[in-house]
């Protein structure tokens, strides 16, 4: 199982596009990052809310967890979790 990171987040994972992860649900996968990738974890997790940051979308394979069971969505070996942030660039300036 792995998390796919878009290029703006890769600097928090030593430039890696994907990082191997473990856990039985989305929440556990992300909480496990606190130890293995603390700076990445800080970018993704809202400690106060105890949840993923609201402006991020997390997909398990091609399904948004908002349309599944949110952070309680179960995951299993072979799944790919994708973090998709809102980006605004149209490169006007």
């Amino acid at each position: 199982m792995k998390i796919y990171l878009p290029s703006p987040l890769r600097r928090y994972a030593d430039g890696a596009k994907e990082i191997p992860v473990v856990g039985v649900c989305v929440r556990e996968v992300f909480l496990n990052l606190k130890e293995s990738h603390p700076s990445l974890f800080a970018q993704l997790w809202d400690e106060e809310a105890g949840n993923l940051k609201k402006y991020l979308n997390v997909f398990v394979n091609d399904e948004n967890i908002r349309n599944l069971q949110g952070p309680d969505t179960p995951v299993e070996e072979g799944d790919v979790l994708s973090v998709i942030p809102a980006i605004a660039g149209g490169s006007s300036r």
Binding site: Y4, L9, Y55, I87, G90, S92, R93
Partner: protein, 280 residues
């Protein structure tokens, strides 16, 4: 064989012959394109390739909205503008280039930035809108206006080596707010000005937007409705992710709370990021 009547001139039949050969377009489809109107919000990285190819394809009317002037730093990717255009209003530079590509195309220029006061007036006259703006406030504004006016909103966004594209056309599918209900806080997401962008990236995403516009105008194929295309240039990977309509969406949901555009809802958050963020 009975001759099929066409509104196309002889020169147009030659100009658009490679379109006309396609059964999905044909003479009727080309006439449809010539009668179509596309509004481009932003004549920058995304708007440039979209405008160039939609003009070449014979989309009859292109509206171009941009209050900026051409800057030297734009030319690495904003291919509708040239070195000699520096200092000129982008809408004027874009109109000049489009005219040189295809005199069939009428270009309506709006030398202003999209705002709650002008977007509905501008968008009302067009069939679809292509979003090539560079900030969240304008994205939410254009998306909301498109929902309220029932116009397909063709989304594209880029940063560094990544791009996203989708077609938002409720009630057929979700709107931009269904996918991104929360505006990122100021400084959370850098802009291209701050974090950079690979020069070819807007070309790829802008042409995906143009492709979706042509498909919608022609009524062919399967548009990117309910699907988000994510492009990773470093890995050269395209990924499609499902996006569902949010019944609680404040603009396209079952009980919308946004029924009109109010300027205070679309204030541009300051885009400052600290130095460490800036290196992302």
């Amino acid at each position: 064989m009975k001759a099929v009547k066409t509104m196309l001139s002889e020169a147009q039949i030659i100009r658009y012959s490679r379109h006309i050969l396609l059964p999905e377009v044909g003479g009727r489809g080309q006439e449809k394109l010539l009668a179509s109107k596309v509004l481009l919000v932003g004549a920058g990285g995304l708007g440039s390739p979209a405008a160039l190819y939609l003009a070449a394809a014979g989309v009859g009317t292109l509206g171009v909205v941009d209050g900026d002037a051409v800057d030297l730093s734009n030319l690495q990717r904003q291919v509708i503008h040239k070195t000699a255009d520096i200092g000129m209003l982008k809408v004027e530079s874009a109109r000049e280039t489009i005219r040189q590509i295809n005199p069939d195309v009428q270009v309506d220029i709006y030398p202003e930035f999209a705002s709650a006061d002008n977007i509905e007036r501008m968008l009302a006259a067009y069939d679809v809108v292509i979003d090539g703006c560079d900030n969240f406030a304008t994205r939410y504004l254009v998306s909301d206006a498109a929902v309220l006016l029932g116009k397909p909103y063709i989304y594209g966004s880029i940063l560094r080596f990544d791009g996203q594209a989708a077609v938002f056309a409720p009630p057929q599918g979700p709107c931009y707010r269904c996918l991104f209900p929360q505006v990122p806080p100021a400084g959370a997401v850098p802009s291209c000005q701050e974090a950079g962008v690979l020069g070819v990236l807007p070309g790829i995403i802008g042409l995906i937007q143009a492709t979706e516009a042509l498909k919608i105008l022609l009524g062919v194929g399967k548009p990117l409705i309910g699907r988000l295309l994510v492009f990773d240039a470093l890995a050269m990977e395209f990924t499609i992710l499902k996006v569902a309509r949010d019944k609680k969406c404040p603009v396209c949901g079952d009980a919308p709370t946004i029924a009109c555009l109010s300027a205070e809802n679309y204030r541009q958050a300051p885009c400052t990021v600290d130095e460490s963020e800036n290196q992302r």
